[in-house]
């Protein structure tokens, strides 16, 4: 068998699986494919049977196994729903393992999760997460490693994805594993001091009723507070020149 044929066969078999169909849906762009071996290991599924209704059927569905007892037609939507819940919860566990982090890193590099809407983060790629690890409370949020804040996805199709399908610890694991992301973000943070509102070029006094109150939110210890964004860019250009020289 030639390499091409092999590739074709393997890709066609992946396309057929429930997992790849699930991940290919437009509103499931944030999900990566959990490996079959991970889902087959009972240890990885500990405790999920109490969270997912119709657990056994749901697991059979996402593993593409023939059910022992055929599922009656009216129950298929409930089981499909349970299957999605179960897959989401397994996904949250999978993405903090080494292969899971690798798949998510690939998606991160492709900017599949979008970029930070904050202007001064200069389109830093964001990471999906949930503030709670229990399903059914809050939808997915996006963590920006540059401003270290969380955002609501801009596209409404992600607004009904549960945050627990990514979990609260994922961004921290990701940044621990890929320290280069944090280094790059630190550089951007230090170059862009917090935004300052001005009127005709003049700063608004701190003691004014409408004066600045939120600068602390975007401040980091290394920033030079007196510099504006343009000046900073000039400063980095000078720094770069100095490095070259």
């Amino acid at each position: 068998m030639t390499e091409n044929e092999e590739l074709y066969l393997s890709s066609s078999s992946i396309e057929d699986s429930w997992v790849s169909q699930f991940c290919e849906m437009a509103n499931h762009q944030y999900f990566c494919e959990v490996s079959e071996s991970f889902m087959e290991d009972e240890f990885n599924l500990t405790g999920l049977n109490s969270l997912v209704p119709r657990y056994k059927e749901a697991l059979e569905l996402i593993l593409d196994l023939e059910p022992e007892v055929p599922v009656p037609l009216p129950e298929i939507p409930t089981i499909e729903e349970s299957g999605e819940l179960l897959y989401g919860l397994i996904h949250a566990r999978f993405i903090i393992t080494r292969p899971g982090l690798q798949s998510m890193a690939y998606k991160y590099a492709c900017r599949d999760f979008g970029t930070c809407p904050r202007y001064q983060c200069r389109n830093t790629a964001v990471l999906p997460m949930g503030r709670l690890d229990i399903p059914g409370f809050e939808t997915v949020r996006l963590y920006c490693p540059c401003c270290r804040d969380i955002y609501v996805p801009s596209n409404s199709r992600f607004l009904n994805i549960d945050g627990a399908f990514f979990g609260s610890s994922f961004p921290a694991f990701f940044l621990e594993t890929y320290p280069k992301v944090e280094q790059e973000c630190r550089r951007i943070r230090e170059q862009s001091p917090p935004f300052q509102l001005k009127i005709f070029g003049f700063n608004i006094a701190e003691k004014s009723r409408a004066g600045p109150r939120m600068k602390w939110l975007r401040q980091t210890p290394g920033q030079d507070k007196s510099q504006g964004p343009q000046e900073t860019e000039a400063a980095t250009a000078i720094e770069e020149e100095a490095v070259v020289g």
Binding site: P117, R118, Y119, Q120, R141, Y143, R148, D149, I150, Y151, V152, S154, S168, S169, P171, A172, F173, L175, P194, F195, L197, K198, I199, F200, G201, I204, E206, K207, S208, R209, A210, G211, P212, R213, M214, K215, W216, L217, R218, Q219, T220, P221
Partner: protein
């Protein structure tokens, strides 16, 4: 010349009805007709006299003698003129009032920051000179600026709103200032704080406390 007789179908109404122009408010024709308000714009707008006629729907303008390219050019300069006048108009009392109504309707979108809980935004430019940077959105709750969600809005010139608009807006309507967000997000692993992140949060909290202290001890004058 039927267009001018129908009030619903003026150039300005047409412009405001176009998709992507939702951020703009209606500039009073009298404001555009006052030449004082247009001081200095002739350097930025080519063929300004015809552009004024087009925007205000004056019957003097003769579109018949123009070919398609010239017509397009005139329309582009009319739009440019209107938008630059818009940046000046929204700093006047009437302009601020019109923008206030739009703001309260949430016409400029909502803050994407999760802890701002979808607070309404105001448009802002980073430069008052046209053709340098696109429009951004200012959230008064976190006092930060964000990129517009839709690419249609991301292509609007920031100079069409100006750098001073949100500052002026809250000087005039201080009652509309929201309660500032005190929450901050701190990343955790399995519910445990991470040293670097927790330290950063504490440092920011200290900055906030210092700011509050500075504001509290007002000098007696």
């Amino acid at each position: 010349m039927e267009m001018e007789t129908d009030l619903e179908d003026t150039w300005i109404a047409n412009f405001l009805g176009t998709k992507g122009n939702e951020y703009f408010c209606e500039v009073d024709p009298e404001f555009i007709l006052d030449r004082f308000n247009l001081t200095g714009l002739n350097a930025d707008v080519p063929n300004i006299h015809d552009a004024i006629d087009v925007v205000t729907g004056s019957s003097d303008v003769n579109m018949d003698g123009l070919n398609a390219e010239e017509e397009q050019q005139l329309d582009a300069s009319a739009r440019h003129l209107y938008c630059l006048v818009h940046a000046r108009f929204i700093l006047t009392t009437r302009g601020l009032y019109k923008m206030m109504l739009k703001y309260q309707e949430g016409d400029f979108g909502r803050c994407p920051r999760a802890l701002c809980r979808s607070h309404i935004l105001l448009p802002i430019g980073l430069q008052d000179v046209p053709n340098i940077s696109s429009v951004k959105l200012y959230c008064p709750k976190c006092e930060d600026i964000y990129n517009p969600k839709s690419s249609r809005h991301a292509n609007i010139d920031g100079a069409y709103f100006g750098t001073s608009f949100p500052g002026m807006f809250f000087q005039v309507y201080p009652k509309l200032l929201p309660r500032h967000s005190e929450e901050q997000f701190c990343l955790k692993i399995f519910g445990f704080k991470i040293h670097d992140h927790a330290e950063h949060c504490r440092w920011q909290q200290k900055q906030r406390d210092e700011l509050e202290k500075r504001i509290a001890d007002k000098p007696t004058s």
